[in-house]
Symmetry: C2
Subunit: 144 residues, 2 copies
């Protein structure tokens, strides 16, 4: 429902433009993640004009405001996913069909087995990375 997305945008301090609403609707309808260009190709038919930079810009802004989630992909291109789960959780992403499934807990070894068994899928690799500042740098404030 457009109303719901408009509220989400307002809550994020963003104007509820038709293009933003269309992006959210499309991504929510998708079962998986999508690239900026893919979304653009689908959406540009629905508008007189729609620039690819606009799609990039909005996806980035929506990601920063937490409405969308970025997917880290081996091909290092950008992909976004609409996830309405407000709880802290992680994702299992399928590299083939792009489906995204929530993973509620954070124990990796156990998780891999769980995912394999529960969904019948196969975990080929996993990424766990903590980003931040080490003790020394946290004091100075960051430099680069």
């Amino acid at each position: 429902m457009e109303q719901r997305h408009a509220a989400v945008l307002k809550a994020a301090g963003m104007k509820a433009t038709p293009k933003r609403l269309a992006i959210l609707e499309l991504l929510e309808a998708e079962s998986g993640y999508a690239s900026p260009e893919e979304l653009w190709k689908t959406l540009k038919g629905r508008f007189d004009r729609l620039g690819l930079p606009t799609v990039y810009r909005n996806l980035e802004e929506l990601s920063e405001s937490g409405v969308l989630t970025k997917v880290i992909h081996p091909n290092r291109q950008l992909y976004y996913y609409f996830c309405s789960n407000p709880e802290h959780h992680h994702h299992f992403v399928c590299l083939s069909c792009r489906k995204v499934e929530d993973i509620p807990s954070c124990g990796i070894e156990a998780l891999e087995r769980e995912v394999s068994i529960r969904n019948g899928g196969k975990v080929l690799s996993h990424i766990l990375q903590l980003n931040g500042l080490c003790g020394g740098c946290a004091k100075k404030g960051e430099k680069a």
Copy 2:
């Protein structure tokens, strides 16, 4: 020791060329991760000729054979890290000074606290992503 690296390369089925050895030595000497261009700038002075594509190629090959580890960075550029720890583990990377610290276990919540307290650092964000194939796709074999 060059001998040790030569053995590592041989074990990986790669020729022990001077440039590969230099890359490994430099990365091992670094306490943190480095980009292809940074390595190239440092190393090209030590050779009559050293092409940036050669550095890229070797880093990728070394990463694929498990000798080096890729770092996932918010700026989405490539960074590599030399890690000799053969055990399964993950990394805490400092976005400021690029130091990399091993993280032996896989419980994220507990880990964030642990890292913060033990090293006095600050975890700004974390990435946990399982890559693989869902049940449906694992059967068919992958498509994209």
